[in-house]
Point group: C2
């Protein structure tokens, strides 16, 4: 019979994305059996994270300083600004090394279904940043979903009067992707984006 | 670019069983974005667990009281004692509802390869408990691996002089198991354990 404190811990762990009840039990047991080497360091990391990680007031990224390291870094190109939905998207782009400019994190995208309008997103600051004469290109790196594309369209309309180039990510066959497994929408996009061989 | 505090948190989370680097990143982001509803409650649960969950000095189970609730529970049958390797095995048996006696957690099994001898296991207390005249049956619910069976054999030899019945778990086809996918060892065990239909 699991004790109530153990049950509570398992319930908390099971709420993490990627952990179901079964793996939450395994994780709890691992932590309880390795108190000094696993449980206490994790408590420490989580507490420090709760204390010192804040959203960047400039771009919306999460970091232990404000402005975040990317906004502070003078080696990043000031001419291009990449608009993403979530911090996770920013992390993915950073890992790919595809981009050397700065970011703007919206904190989601417009969604009629979820009742998320422009005032719920980090847009007011984007309008300000877009007017900076140093910014020459704004890349709308939003999801290729209906909501993501609606958001991209909305931002593009709002920024159309500015002398800034607006771009979107290329669409087509993912690298390593098998044509046989691709959906029709991706195949259509790949066809219309075809290039000379 | 992930910050160092965030990196440290991801590293800690990635060490949990069942979480790889990718899911640890997702979990960290989830926690950071839901500070009040996810991060702080998890810190609280972990800290409470670190403070109050201890191994039971009688059976080796983990609980927030010592002796644990199972050892304290007078409704559990005192006549049967179930020896398991780990607390996780005890949890699994409790979930199944198969057993209403008390447990004894060894904290592993004998392993020549890992250099784990009898003195590393919770055996001294088992020899004491086995001499309790109330105990009529000791069930060796150990893994069906070489190490598990070696451990069961070792315990059976050490307890052979006592007037207590020693049993092991039945072996055979798992419920819902497809014969086609079973290994030869399980099929052999199932054949030799065949019963009248």
């Amino acid at each position: 019979m699991a004790a109530s404190e153990i049950d509570r811990l398992i319930q908390q762990l099971a709420r993490l994305p990627g952990l179901g009840p079964r793996s939450a039990r395994r994780a709890a047991l691992h932590l309880l059996q390795k108190r000094e080497t696993a449980l206490l360091p994790l408590v420490d990391s989580l507490r420090r994270a709760a204390e010192c990680i804040v959203p960047c007031s400039n771009c919306g990224n999460l970091d232990d300083c404000d402005p975040c390291r990317i906004c502070q870094d003078s080696r990043r190109e000031a001419a291009s600004l990449c608009v993403v939905e979530e911090v996770g998207d920013l992390w993915a782009l950073e890992r790919s090394g595809a981009f050397r400019g700065r970011y703007h994190v919206l904190g989601g995208c417009l969604s009629a279904l979820d009742g998320r309008g422009p005032e719920q997103l980090n847009l007011a600051r984007l309008w300000q940043r877009a007017e900076d004469p140093a910014v020459k290109e704004i890349i709308l790196a939003l999801s290729a979903t209906v909501d993501g594309q609606t958001t991209a369209h909305y931002i593009a309309e709002r920024l159309a009067h500015l002398p800034v180039q607006l771009t979107r990510l290329g669409q087509g066959v993912p690298v390593g992707g098998d044509l046989d497994y691709l959906d029709d929408g991706t195949l259509l996009a790949a066809f219309s984006a075809r290039r000379p061989a």
